[in-house]
């Protein structure tokens, strides 16, 4: 007999195993996190098939929603580009780990593969006893397991405080206020001539206006400080010649091809002097805007 549970199992079990393998084998931590998310969502579906709707929701909300997002935050903090080193500090450790893993899976499958005999009872009965799965879990949680539940609250408080203590940083030097920063800028200007105003904006050209485009100085060189230091460190910024060359080449090409055509080249564009349309002229200033 084909039930929804077996369809969900045979569809998702290979996906889960493959995603779990992908998590272990992926070089980048972000890919590992995404594979783990796939495993967790598929597990949630298994919970739903096993008549555990509360755990289905909690699995998605807490595990996939909260814990994995925490993982992703830390991956982004710690450096998404750092991939694993392949240097083995313990000789042959990988091989032994895989051998131990194969032994473990064989043992687990042999030991538990036929552990449950007889027809499953199913939790439909306990679920309906108190009016639903959530009510049944609540009845257990707040009566039989109430002390364990209280202990987890202490655990969560401790974990929250612990995380704050661990990631807290003491300020080593006093924070500069605005007056001190202004004084420091003026001192730098007086001593070494550093421009006290804001940094120049990036350049705007006919074909480039992105933030990695340097502005041109009057002498035709690039203003290094107009590009963010991070971008400067990450990649080489464009040179002025590179920026102005395509436009100059195009202009030369056009003026060589059609020297007589109005509007291109250095002569004034006659279209600019065309009379203003009567309809436009009738509109008041506000309407035109």
């Amino acid at each position: 007999m084909v039930t929804g549970a077996s369809v969900a199992f045979w569809l998702l079990a290979p996906v889960m195993v493959l995603a779990a393998l992908g998590m272990v084998l992926a070089r980048k931590a972000v890919h590992s996190a995404l594979c783990l998310a796939a495993v967790m969502v598929a597990l949630a579906v298994q919970y739903a098939a096993l008549d555990a709707p509360f755990l289905f929701a909690v699995q998605i909300i807490v595990y996939t929603g909260a814990i994995l997002m925490l993982f992703l935050f830390v991956v982004m903090l710690v450096g998404v580009e750092s991939s694993d080193s392949l240097v083995e500090t313990l000789k042959g450790q990988r091989v032994y780990a895989v051998l131990v893993g194969i032994g473990l899976v064989v043992m687990l499958v042999v030991a538990t593969g036929n552990a449950l005999v007889g027809d499953p009872v199913g939790v439909a009965g306990p679920n309906s006893e108190h009016g639903g799965n959530v009510q049944g879990l609540a009845a257990l949680l707040f009566v039989r397991y109430v002390w364990a539940f209280e202990a987890t609250s202490a655990l969560l408080i401790t974990a929250a405080v612990g995380a704050m203590v661990l990631t807290h940083r003491e300020r080593l030097v006093k924070k500069q206020d605005q007056r001190e920063r202004a004084a420091a800028r003026m001192r730098a200007y007086a001593e070494s001539g550093v421009h006290p105003g804001p940094l120049p904006t990036p350049g705007v050209f006919a074909r480039h206006n992105s933030v990695d485009t340097p502005a041109l100085l009057p002498d035709g060189s690039a203003a290094e400080s107009s590009v963010s230091a991070t971008l400067r460190a990450r990649s080489s910024i464009r040179t002025p010649a590179e920026l102005t060359a395509p436009m100059a080449a195009r202009q030369a090409e056009l003026s060589a091809d059609q020297p007589a055509q109005p509007g291109i080249g250095h002569g004034p564009d006659p279209r600019l002097k065309a009379p203003v349309d009567q309809k436009d002229a009738d509109l008041s200033d506000e309407e035109r805007i």
């Binding site: 590992s32 814990i67 993982f71 694993d84 131990v100 199913g122 306990p126 401790t158």
Partner: protein, 99 residues
Amino acid sequence: MDPNHYLVLSGMLFTIGAIGFLVRRNAIVAFMCVELMLNACNLALVTFSSHWGVLDGQVASFFVMVVAAAEVVVGLAIIVSIYRTRRSASVDDANLLKL
């Protein structure tokens, strides 16, 4: 649906998590493997709960999730603070206790 299939799947996921924990050097990925092992245990617990017709297994699974959440918070905080001092998330670099 034979509940033993769930147990086999749970065992496989647990093993993959264990192997990953042994071979991966990135602390964050090793931590994810721990989460995978906890998830595999949860699946076994829910399967037992469904097989015997009692909800205690689901309560246990719920507690595992709570503990996992607390563990992740503290563990990731440790990883971040180690990263701040050593500029690395590799478990091989945190070896100050080694002789």
